[in-house]
Symmetry: C2
DNA sequence: GCGCAATGTTGCCCTCGTCTACTTGGGAGG
DNA sequence: CCTCCCAAGTAGACGAGGGCAACATTGCGC
């Protein structure tokens, strides 16, 4: 006997169609990219009519926003775990950066959806909350890594540079821009460490 | 009387349909984003049938690849001009970085097309050449800015970090990820200078 | 001049997003 | 326990886009 929160699946009245649709969309994104996420296909996968999704999502963009939100939550989880497993704040910061890049490489299509303008342009408050959580985690980690140094302004400056590096590297990897370049031989993890080393040390500092 | 290279526009045989189609696509991208670039709409704008474009582009992706190529060429031009106008190699490097970001902000949809995987996945040799030109320009500028320092490996390390920062910042701006953040008050130029300062100085160097 | 290949055209099919109108069934109020 | 109502699902239609196939036109090479 199912718990009261889990409604029975009857022919009509799926029970938790919204969840099922998001899961189907997730699978499609990972397997075939964002353009494969089609309201009709998602409905087909779940076994409902082509109009059923509209009871739960205003349009295709709303479904993709839900997918993006899910991705941001997963990223947040991975980032905080990565930080937690490190002994000191500095290595925690580095771990966050590496994890960000590896997450993108592991889920390229998902990463793309998360950062698409359609997603952030949407005013879905849940999505914004998920995005804010990741940003806050980043700035806090930066702030902790620089205990007692400069003020908040400097923290924001550092956060911008750090976010830009990892996001840029992630994007370049995901979009295959490093494929036919000298970097192709190195693993994403190595590349992330390389870029973070340079960022930490400074570009024009002679060794 | 038109020059021999410019063929007459007859009812049939447009003259330079390929060029016209690319221009139309360019306008659509800038005005309404990549999703607005539709083979049919482009054909309509140029005044040919909905199938005419297929004589010049294998499919929609090929048209977008041509658009991307055009963008990369424009970027290359702007970057080399920016570098040329600077007195010394160091400020040239900085100017390149800032120009990269400003280009992206000035042509967001175009920038997105240039970096989309569909584009770089395409094995169009012209597109690859355009992309390589930009990459080469970047690494050369880096190499010159560090005259007589370390070897090629170090140059590549620095190039990766530099490219990642400017590309990441450009992406974040273009996708609106900085919109609801403390950075929203600053101009793209200021942000680019901020990030490049941090990169140059190093993340954990106390002032 | 003539014929052929490049370039355009018309028509068709399929899929997709989304609108409107209809159906079902489970739970709240009597 | 019955009933009625509204949320959830269904059915069909429309217009638009991508892409195939078959046909039309031209102008260049011979």
């Amino acid at each position: 006997m199912p718990s009261p929160r889990v409604k029975r699946k009857t022919a009509y009245h799926h029970g938790d169609l919204r969840r099922a649709l998001i899961n189907a969309a997730l699978r499609l994104v990972n397997e075939s990219g964002a353009s494969a996420v089609t309201l009709r296909e998602v409905a087909r996968m779940v076994g409902v009519s082509h109009q059923a999704p509209y009871r739960h999502f205003a349009d295709r963009a709303a479904l993709l926003a839900a997918v993006a939100e899910e991705g941001l939550r997963a990223l947040h989880t991975e980032l905080s775990q990565a930080a937690r497993n490190e002994p000191d704040v500095l290595s925690a910061l580095r771990a966050c950066g590496v994890t960000y890049v590896l997450f993108a490489v592991a889920h390229p299509a998902h990463f793309r959806v998360m950062n698409s303008a359609e997603a952030s342009a949407s005013d879905d408050p849940d999505l914004q909350a998920a995005s804010d959580a990741v940003f806050t985690l980043l700035t806090q980690t930066i702030a902790e890594a620089r205990v007692g140094a400069e003020g908040e302004a400097a923290t924001l400056e550092y956060a911008l540079a750090a976010w830009s590096v990892v996001h840029g590297l992630a994007s370049l990897l995901v979009e295959g821009q490093l494929q036919r370049r000298p970097y192709a031989k190195k693993s994403p993890r190595e590349l992330a460490n390389m870029a973070l080393d340079t960022l930490r040390r400074g570009l024009l500092t002679r060794a």
